[in-house]
């Protein structure tokens, strides 16, 4: 194969205040190929794409398109060069018609006014080329997300793109829709277009990609042909450790005697359309159950189902042996379930309220509006947890938004411990927290578990999950694919399961 790459990015560096997002990253795109850009969260995929599409200017490095050095300063300029991107969130106008969306900003003109006939004819033709046959005069919002995604792609194509970038286009599509998208991509490939495809779904990567580039921590790790790179190798390169069993000794063995015989929460066939495929999961008091899986594997979705945020449309939940329906967090709280969400800022803290108010919020919600905790009792509870969890603050009346991330997390932990829960779901409790606070929080979790709390622990850092969990449920592509007992779990095992090399 002596095909020349159509686009070469080399030695790309980009720093944001405090972080080097890209360090010497590179990417080569060949005509007629789908190139998967892979990496964990924060690996620099998006930044690299932003540099390529002119959203960000690189600090160093060069981009060559057809052998010529280019330096797109804005999206429009990149588009003129033939580089277009379709982002995860569809950025079209839902209230405009499909045809208008495709041609917006470059309507063909007649002597007087816009040439609507041409627009509609060409829009229909463009979509037909992607095997989509719809009425283009209807508003975009009247079509399902998959079609909207296709319209976004059609729009990208009418700009005569040589390079098409798809940033997680499939995260909101179901399997049939993904297949339709892939068919369209295969057609484009045949026309010689270079396509960059970003996804967290491994199956999709292998279904469509010809070539894979892996980034990690902003650095270029390697470029591989998809058919020569095994799934396990791909995961290893993404995670960045030659995972060996010795480095992770069996974690603190589950104290079998302290674990309850019966599960506190038992889910059978629990699932939701568009969310999780039906799964079984038992959670025992006195045991930490970890959820292992890559980003997008359904870890948070599982937690949301168990906390009543998303409604399950199949399966049953039993709490303490009783069949229940969880339709709202309020109900889950009443059954003694607590949930520290992943997005601390938007789903956890109430920033303008004081630490005291944040700590007693869930307890007060559980007591109900008329059983008001007197201020003095509130302060006593807040002070108790500030001391017990080591929350560093001058006083409990400070707005919680002024605390550091680690201390906010501890305050959220306090919020739930104050309700005396039976089960605690921790979704990424250590994200964005410095290492010292991280260890403290892990210690707290362990200690609570020994006191008889059932804990569901979610983290994107597999080593962390392995360290605290007595049992790990492994997820892939929104499906639970198995469980591993804590003693047998090491990264090798878990990743092998995710890769599907082992049943």
């Amino acid at each position: 194969m002596t095909v020349e790459p159509i686009l070469v990015m080399q030695g790309i560096c980009k720093s944001f205040p405090g972080v080097a997002a890209l360090k010497n990253a590179q990417l080569r795109l060949f005509p007629g190929e789908v190139h998967a850009l892979m990496g964990q969260n924060g690996a620099g995929k998006s930044t690299l794409i932003k540099v390529l599409t002119g959203v960000e200017t690189p600090d160093a490095g060069e981009i060559r398109l057809n052998g010529q050095a280019i330096r797109p300063a804005c999206v429009g300029e990149a588009q003129k060069m033939g580089i277009t991107a379709v982002y995860q969130e569809i950025n079209l106008c839902p209230n405009l018609s499909v045809a208008e969306n495709i041609f917006i900003g470059r309507f063909p003109m007649r002597a007087i006014g816009i040439d609507w006939k041409t627009i509609e004819r060409e829009a229909t033709a463009e979509l037909a080329a992607l095997n989509i046959h719809i009425d283009v005069s209807l508003p975009l919002a009247s079509y399902p997300v998959a079609i909207q995604q296709m319209v976004a792609i059609a729009r990208a194509l009418t700009t005569e793109a040589q390079v098409l970038i798809l940033d997680e286009p499939t995260s909101s599509l179901d399997e049939g829709e993904v297949e339709r998208l892939f068919q369209a991509l295969r057609q484009l490939k045949q026309k010689g277009m270079a396509i960059v495809f970003i996804t967290h779904f491994l199956d999709q990567t292998y279904a469509i990609a010809d070539r894979i580039t892996v980034l990690r921590n902003g650095e270029f790790i390697g470029e591989y042909l998809a058919n020569t790179l095994s799934r396990l190798d791909l995961i290893n390169t993404m995670v960045g450790r030659e995972i060996n069993e010795a480095s992770y000794a069996a974690n603190s063995s589950a104290n079998a005697s302290s674990v309850a015989k019966k599960p506190y929460v038992s889910a059978k066939g629990l699932g939701s359309t568009g969310g999780m495929h039906p799964f079984d999961l038992d959670l025992y008091q006195g045991q930490v159950t970890g959820l292992g899986g890559l980003l997008g594997s359904g870890r948070t979705e599982t937690a949301r189902l168990l906390f009543g945020i998303d409604r399950a449309d199949s399966g049953t939940i039993r709490i303490d042996g009783q069949a229940v329906r969880l339709n709202s967090p309020r109900q889950a709280v009443r059954y003694g379930i607590a949930f520290c969400p992943e997005d601390r800022k938007n789903e956890g803290i109430v920033a303008d309220l004081s630490i005291r108010e944040n700590i007693i919020l869930a307890l007060q919600a559980r007591r109900g509006i008329f059983h008001y905790l007197p201020k003095r009792a509130q302060s006593a509870i807040a002070e108790q947890y500030i001391e017990q969890l080591g929350i560093r603050t001058s006083d409990a009346e400070k707005p919680i938004g002024q605390l550091s991330g680690g201390n906010q997390q501890k305050a959220l932990l306090a919020r739930w411990l104050a309700t005396d829960p039976k089960m605690l779901i921790l979704d990424e409790p250590t994200r964005g927290i410095d290492i010292a606070a991280k260890l403290e929080i892990m210690e707290l979790v362990k200690a609570q578990c020994e006191k008889g709390l059932a804990i569901l622990f979610i983290s994107s850092e597999m080593s962390e999950v392995l360290r605290v969990s007595d049992r790990i449920a492994v997820l892939r592509d929104r499906q639970k694919i198995g469980e591993i007992a804590g003693q047998d779990a090491d990264e090798q095992n878990v990743f092998r399961m995710i890769a599907g090399a082992e049943a």
Binding site: F307, I309, S328, P329, R330, A332, V333, R334, F339, P341, N346, E347, G348, I349, V350, A351, D352, L353, E357, L361, A362, Q364, A365, R366, R367, G368, I369, F370, H371, Y372, L373, R415
Partner: protein, 351 residues
């Protein structure tokens, strides 16, 4: 010497400081042009004076502003309160109606329907309006401004239907007490305001209502994830807001002894929103102050009074009002204050 500025700064940071200062300045302007502004005299056992007059006239606005405060604190808005006033007013006026009957040579006033029943009916209709708004906002998830716009537009039509397109005059004297009567020398309307205020303060400070409303206003998702049923809360807050509008309608109708579907409570929603804003509650929701909204209502009424007593020609008094409100809002803007502070600090340093 050093401590004094610190306490001053603390005082200036108090949420009610700027509304208070504004009100004080407006009063001073009034005193300057009308030296008897603060005079209160007793006439036939009733207190009379500009201040009493302002308080009495501000009563409906104060009531609606209190209800509006809770709605705004949950990140919402209710622009239908004026229409709700029109509906409630129409209901109470048509039910009472009343006529003068001379029985055995004695003049007696007779109402169509017993007055307590009419009042309960008017309040129930107001509550119904609020439940409708709450259903749209909390139940159907509509944007508050659009949801309440529906009733704002439809409400005056409904009021017209009730009054059959006429201005309904009330001839039942006992009803006039609500808007014009005095009790122990003080206008009855102020007792009503005080009662509603007391109930609200009790609910806010002796139950978790205040905490829940603020949580929902600041971060609805976090509030829901903490086990608060945010939807139910928002629903009842709209219901309560409409109820305050219903109470205001009683005072307004009683005061003018008639119900005019077209003009009763006209633009009241905007005054109420303005009062809440002047009182320091952010339209973005979250932290709120009932007392601030009361001060805001008084600012608006005092301003109106000042404009009239200064003899500003009616053609331009709206413009004057707008300018003052603009100025007050500027003073209250945190961003502007920091900017000015920086500027003053810099020039001070240069000198």
């Amino acid at each position: 010497m050093k401590r004094l500025p610190a306490t001053w700064r603390d005082l200036a940071r108090h949420p009610l400081f700027w509304p208070g200062v504004t009100l004080l300045l407006l009063c001073l302007v009034n005193v300057y042009f009308n030296h008897s502004f603060f005079d209160i005299e007793v006439k036939s056992g009733h207190l009379y004076g500009s201040v009493i007059d302002i308080l009495n006239r501000a009563a409906p606005l104060m009531l609606v502003a209190m209800g509006m405060t809770l709605v705004i604190a949950t990140r919402g808005i209710d622009i239908s309160v004026g229409a709700t006033v029109a509906i409630s007013g129409a209901v109470v006026a048509s039910l009472i109606g009343g006529s003068l009957i001379i029985q055995n040579g004695v003049q007696t006033y007779v109402s169509n329907v017993p007055m307590p029943l009419a009042i309960v009916a008017a309040l129930a209709v107001a509550l119904l309006c609020g439940l409708w708004n709450g259903l749209l906002v909390a139940g159907a998830g509509m944007q508050p401004i659009i949801a309440t716009l529906i009733l704002m537009v439809a409400g005056r039509g409904i009021a017209q239907l009730i009054t059959e397109g006429q201005i309904v005059t009330v001839y039942y004297e006992p009803f006039f007490i609500i808007g014009n009567g005095f009790l122990l020398g003080i206008p009855v309307s102020l007792y009503i305001v005080a009662l509603v205020l007391a109930i609200m303060l009790l609910l806010i400070h002796r139950t978790a209502l205040g905490l829940f409303i603020e949580s929902v206003g600041i971060n609805p998702v976090a509030a829901r994830f903490s086990g608060i049923s945010a939807r139910a809360l928002v629903f009842w807050v709209y219901a309560f807001c409409a109820l305050t509008a219903g109470i205001a309608a009683l005072i307004i109708t009683s005061n003018v002894k008639s119900a005019d579907g077209n003009n009763a409570g006209l633009l009241l929603e905007l005054d109420a929103i303005l009062a809440v804003t002047l009182g320091g509650t952010s339209l973005a929701g979250g932290r709120f102050s009932i007392m601030g909204s009361l001060l805001g209502s008084l600012i608006i009424q005092t301003l109106t009074y000042a404009i009239y007593s200064l003899g500003v020609p009616p053609e331009i008094n709206m413009v004057v009002k707008a300018l003052v409100v603009f100025g007050v809002c500027l003073i209250q803007s945190e961003a502007l204050r920091t900017m000015l502070g920086k500027h003053l600090f810099r020039t001070g340093e240069a000198a």
